[in-house]
C-alpha cells in the first residue's frame, strides 16, 4: 500500500503507536478495575483515534478492526457487556493484531487476516447482550440517576393521564380529545422508554398508540372490552414501571400485546357479534358531565416548573422561620420596654425600629407559608386512582356507580395524606359494597338506577373536611343494635336507652360487622375500626350519619399539617394550655348542676351522649378553684370519641408550633410538648389522643 505523503505516514505511525500502547495499558488496568469508567472512556477514545487515522490513510482493514474494538468498549461503557477475562484477552489479541497490521502497512506486505478476531469480538458482544436483554435492568441503561428519576416521574404522570382519559373515553366515546390525549401520552412513554432502552415498555405503548390511532381514524370502534383490555395494558405498564424502579423486569408483555391486537381486530368495523363488543352508548351522559369537568380542573397536575426538595429540609426551614418569629416577638418586647425609659427622640427611633421589625416579621410569616405550601400535596392526587377503583367495583359488583369528586384545591402534608388514603379507599369500598344497591333494587325503591358516591373536600385554615356521601340503603340501626347485643357490647336492658348516634358508633368497635355475608370487596367488617385508627393517628375526627333507605354520610376532619397547629389557647390555674383546634368540637358554658356523676367519673350529656368530663386542675398544681356560677367546658373529639375538659378562661385562637418534649419531660403523657406563644409566654400543648384514650380506659 502506498502513501505518497511521508508526513502523513509518520503521523499515522506515531498515532497508532501512541494509541496501541494506551490500549495496552488501559486493558490491563481495566482487568483490575472493570467498573472504572475513566479507563473505559480512554480505551474507547484510543480505538476511535485508530479508526480515524486508518480512515485518513485509507487503511480499511485496520479501520474495521478498530471499529470492532470501539463497539466492544461502547457496550462495556453502556454496561451491556461485563468485563471478563476472556474479553480482555480477546481485546489484547485484537490490539496485537493492530500492531501487526501497522507493520504490514508500512512495510507494504500483504495485510494479515482480521475476520477471525472480528468475529470473535462480535460473538462476545452478542452473547452478553443476549444475556442482558433476557434480564433487562436499569443498570444496563446508560443514563444518570437524575434522568432516570425524570423518566419515572414523566412516566407516572403519563400513566395517570392515560388512566383518567381512558375512563372518560368509556363514558363518552365521541370525545376525540380523550383519544388524542391517550395517543399523545402513549407516544410520550414510547419515546422516553426507547431513549432509556426500555424495550418492553416501548413495544407495549407502541401497541396502545396504534390502537388509539386506529380509533381516531374510526377504523376501530370503542367497546367496553377494548377499554378493559387497554386498562389491563395500563396495569401492565404500571407493573413494568415498578419493576423498572426496582431494577428487575420480569413481567411478560407479549400476552397483553397479543390481547391488544386481538381485541382491536375484533372491534374492527361493525362486524362484531359478541355482545360485549357492542359499541358503548354514551351511558349516563348527563350525570357524567359533572365528573368530567371536575376531573379536568382538578386531577391534572399544573405544568409549573418543579424542583424536587427534601421534606426534611423544608421542615427545618419552617422551624427556623418559626424561631425567627419568636426572636421577632422578643425583640419587639425588649424595644418596647426600652421606650419607657428613654427620652422622646430616642423613643421615636425605637418606635421606628419596632415598625421595621413588624414588617420583617410579616415577611418571615410569608416565607413560612410558602414553605408550608410547598411541603403539601394536592388532595386530588390521593384520589387519582379512585375513578378506576370505582369502575372495577362496578364491574365486580354488577352495580352502577357514579363517582363525584370535588376537592377545590385542598392541600395537605404528605405524611397525613399517606395516613388517610387507606381509610378513604375503605370508606368508598364500603359505600359501593354495602351502601349502593344493585340497579334492580334501586329502581324498585324509586331511586335512579345509577348510584352516586360523592367525595367532597374543603379546607378551613389548617383543617380539611372530607365528606363521603352515598345515596345507598344506609345503615340499619336495628341490625347494628342486635349485632352489638349478640356480641355482648351492650346489654339487652341498656339497649332502649341508647341514642341513635350511640348505636351508630358501635360500627367503630373492633371486629364489628353488620354485613351478613363477608365479601371480597370490604372484608369482614374490621373496616371502620381500621379507619378509626388511621384517623386517630393524625388527630382527626370522624362522624357518621345515616338514614335508612337514603344513604350514609361520613365526615372526616383532619389537620392538613402537623407542623403548625391552630390551637385554642385556654387558661387553667394560670397555666396556658393549648388545645389543637381540630379536636375542639364545641365550647359549652355550663352550670355545676349539668355535671352528672356515674361510677365516680363526672359526665356531661352532650347531644344525648354521655361524655367524660376531665378536670386538669389537680394535675396542674395549685388549688382547684371553687366554682361559683358557670364553667367553660371544652368538648374535644378524637376519631369517634369525645371528652370534655374544664378550663378557667378561653384566651384566643392561635397557630402554634409544638416543640415535643425531650427525654426528661416525656413522661408527661397528657401533653405533647411546649410552645412559645406570640406574646412570648410558654404554653403547654395537650396530647389529645393520650388524654382521650386515658379517659376511656378508666
Amino acid at each position: 500500500m502506498n502513501i505518497s505523503d511521508p508526513h502523513l505516514l509518520e503521523l499515522f505511525v506515531s498515532s497508532i503507536d501512541k494509541n496501541t500502547s494506551a490500549i495496552d495499558a488501559g486493558l490491563l488496568e481495566l482487568e483490575n478495575q472493570p467498573e472504572n469508567t475513566d479507563i473505559i472512556n480512554e480505551l474507547m477514545r484510543s480505538a476511535h483515534n485508530i479508526k480515524g487515522t486508518s480512515n485518513l490513510v485509507g487503511f480499511a482493514v485496520l479501520k474495521d478492526l478498530s471499529h470492532s474494538i470501539e463497539n466492544v468498549m461502547i457496550d462495556i461503557s453502556a454496561k451491556k457487556l461485563s468485563v471478563s477475562q476472556l474479553l480482555i484477552s480477546t481485546l489484547l489479541k485484537a490490539e496485537d493484531l493492530i500492531k501487526v497490521l501497522k507493520n504490514d502497512f508500512i512495510t507494504e506486505q500483504p495485510i494479515s487476516e482480521i475476520t477471525g478476531i472480528i468475529s470473535e469480538l462480535e460473538k462476545l458482544r452478542a452473547q452478553q447482550t443476549e444475556n442482558q436483554s433476557k434480564n433487562e435492568t436499569p443498570k444496563t441503561f446508560d443514563i444518570d440517576p437524575e434522568s432516570l428519576s425524570i423518566y419515572i416521574s414523566d412516566l407516572e404522570e403519563s400513566i395517570e393521564n392515560i388512566n383518567s382519559a381512558l375512563l372518560q373515553l368509556e363514558k363518552n366515546v365521541q370525545d376525540k380529545k380523550n383519544i388524542e390525549s391517550i395517543m399523545r401520552f402513549a407516544h410520550n412513554i414510547k419515546g422516553s422508554s426507547s431513549m432509556v432502552g426500555f424495550t418492553k415498555m416501548k413495544e407495549l405503548t407502541h401497541a396502545i398508540e396504534t390502537i388509539m390511532s386506529d380509533i381516531s381514524k374510526d377504523k376501530i370502534k370503542v367497546t367496553s372490552k377494548l377499554i378493559s383490555t387497554l386498562l389491563k395494558a395500563l396495569d401492565t405498564i404500571i407493573n413494568l414501571k415498578n419493576e423498572f424502579k426496582k431494577g428487575n423486569i420480569t413481567t411478560d408483555t407479549s400476552n397483553i400485546i397479543n390481547e391488544l391486537i386481538a381485541v382491536s381486530t375484533q372491534s374492527f368495523g361493525s362486524s362484531a357479534k359478541d355482545s360485549s363488543n357492542t359499541p358503548i352508548k354514551n351511558k349516563e351522559q348527563s350525570s357524567d358531565k359533572k365528573i368530567n369537568i371536575l376531573q379536568k380542573s382538578d386531577v391534572k397536575i399544573e405544568p409549573v416548573q418543579q424542583v424536587k426538595f427534601n421534606i426534611k429540609s423544608i421542615e427545618n426551614m419552617i422551624n427556623l422561620t418559626r424561631e425567627l418569629t419568636i426572636v421577632e416577638a422578643q425583640l419587639t418586647e425588649t424595644l418596647n420596654s426600652m421606650a419607657v425609659f428613654s427620652d422622646a427622640s430616642f423613643t421615636s427611633k425605637i418606635n421606628q425600629s419596632v415598625e421595621m421589625i413588624f414588617f420583617m416579621g410579616k415577611s418571615i410569616r410569608l416565607i413560612q407559608d410558602e414553605f408550608m405550601k410547598s411541603k403539601m400535596t394536592p388532595f386530588s392526587i390521593l384520589l387519582k386512582n379512585f375513578p378506576r377503583m370505582v369502575r372495577d367495583l362496578e364491574n365486580s359488583l354488577n352495580k352502577k356507580i357514579n363517582l363525584v369528586i370535588e376537592t377545590s384545591g385542598t392541600r395537605l402534608d404528605q405524611n397525613i395524606a399517606e395516613e388517610i388514603t387507606n381509610p378513604l379507599i375503605h370508606i368508598v369500598r364500603n359505600s359501593a359494597d354495602h351502601g349502593i344497591e344493585c340497579p334492580k333494587e334501586r329502581i324498585k325503591s324509586n331511586k335512579p338506577e345509577v348510584g352516586t358516591i360523592k367525595i367532597y373536600a374543603y379546607q378551613k385554615s389548617e383543617q380539611i373536611i372530607i365528606t363521603i356521601e352515598d345515596d345507598g340503603k344506609g345503615i340499619d340501626e336495628d341490625q347494628i343494635l342486635s349485632s352489638a347485643i349478640s356480641k355482648g357490647l351492650v346489654s339487652r336492658d341498656e339497649a332502649p336507652s341508647l341514642s341513635k348516634s350511640q348505636i351508630i358508633n358501635y360500627i367503630f368497635h373492633p371486629g364489628f360487622s353488620t354485613s351478613k355475608n363477608v365479601t371480597e370487596i370490604s372484608g369482614r367488617g374490621v373496616g371502620m375500626d381500621v379507619v378509626k385508627e388511621h384517623i386517630k393517628k393524625v388527630n382527626g375526627t370522624i362522624e357518621l350519619s345515616t338514614e335508612k333507605g337514603k344513604g350514609t354520610k361520613i365526615m372526616l376532619r383532619i389537620p392538613s399539617t402537623m407542623t403548625i397547629i391552630p390551637s385554642v389557647i385556654s387558661d387553667i390555674n394560670g397555666k396556658i394550655l393549648c388545645i389543637p383546634a381540630i379536636n375542639v368540637v364545641k365550647v359549652l358554658y355550663i352550670t355545676p348542676s349539668e355535671i352528672k356523676e356515674k361510677d365516680q367519673t363526672e359526665l356531661l350529656i352532650i347531644d344525648g351522649m354521655a361524655v367524660p368530663l376531665i378536670r386538669l386542675h389537680s394535675d396542674i398544681g395549685g388549688n382547684p378553684r371553687e366554682y361559683r356560677g358557670k364553667y367553660y367546658a371544652v368538648v374535644i373529639g378524637l376519631a369517634e370519641k369525645k371528652i370534655a375538659i374544664l378550663v378557667d378562661k378561653l384566651l384566643k385562637e392561635q397557630k402554634i408550633v409544638v416543640k415535643p418534649f425531650g427525654e426528661i419531660l416525656c413522661s408527661l403523657k397528657n401533653l405533647m410538648g411546649t410552645t412559645i406563644l406570640e406574646d412570648g409566654k410558654i404554653g403547654f400543648v395537650l396530647n389529645v389522643s393520650n388524654l382521650v384514650s386515658n379517659s376511656y380506659a378508666l
Partner: protein, 128 residues
C-alpha cells in the same frame, strides 16, 4: 477530681457543687420558672431559653438538700447545661466561679473559701 478538667462551681442550700465546664452552655439570671401542668419528679418547671422551652432540674429535691424551697436572691442564677440531646437548667443560689488547675495543689483545693465541693454528674443524677 480530675485536675485537667475545668469545673464551674456553685452554691445551693449552703452546699457547694461543681459541674464540668464543657457541658455548660451558659449562665443566665434568674427568670420565673413555670410549673408544669402535671407534676413530674425531679423537674421544677420550664423556662424560655433562646427560642426553646427547657426543663429546670430540681436539685434540691433530687439531692434532698432542704425541705423548703431556697429563696430567690439577686445572686440566684440558672446554669444552662447540655444533657444528652437536650438542654436543661439548674438553679443555683450563687455561682462561685471556675475551678481549674490553678485551684489545685497536690490534689487539694486551694485559694478558695470553702473546702467541701461535690462534683455533680448529670448522667448519674438524672438516670431514673
Amino acid at each position: 477530681m480530675n485536675i485537667s478538667v475545668s469545673y464551674i462551681c456553685f452554691r445551693l442550700c449552703e452546699k457547694y457543687f461543681c459541674i464540668k465546664l464543657e457541658i455548660i452552655d451558659s449562665i443566665t439570671p434568674y427568670q420565673e420558672i413555670i410549673e408544669l401542668p402535671y407534676s413530674i419528679n425531679n423537674v421544677k418547671g420550664v423556662i424560655k431559653y433562646k427560642t426553646s422551652v427547657i426543663p429546670i432540674i430540681d436539685l434540691v429535691k433530687i439531692l434532698k438538700l432542704s425541705i423548703n424551697e431556697p429563696a430567690i436572691m439577686p445572686s440566684t442564677k440558672i446554669i444552662i447545661a447540655k444533657y444528652k440531646d437536650e438542654i436543661i437548667g439548674i438553679l443555683a443560689d450563687e455561682v462561685k466561679g471556675i475551678l481549674d488547675k490553678n485551684n489545685f495543689e497536690n490534689n487539694n483545693l486551694i485559694n478558695i473559701d470553702f473546702k467541701d465541693v461535690k462534683i455533680l454528674e448529670l448522667d448519674k443524677l438524672l438516670e431514673p
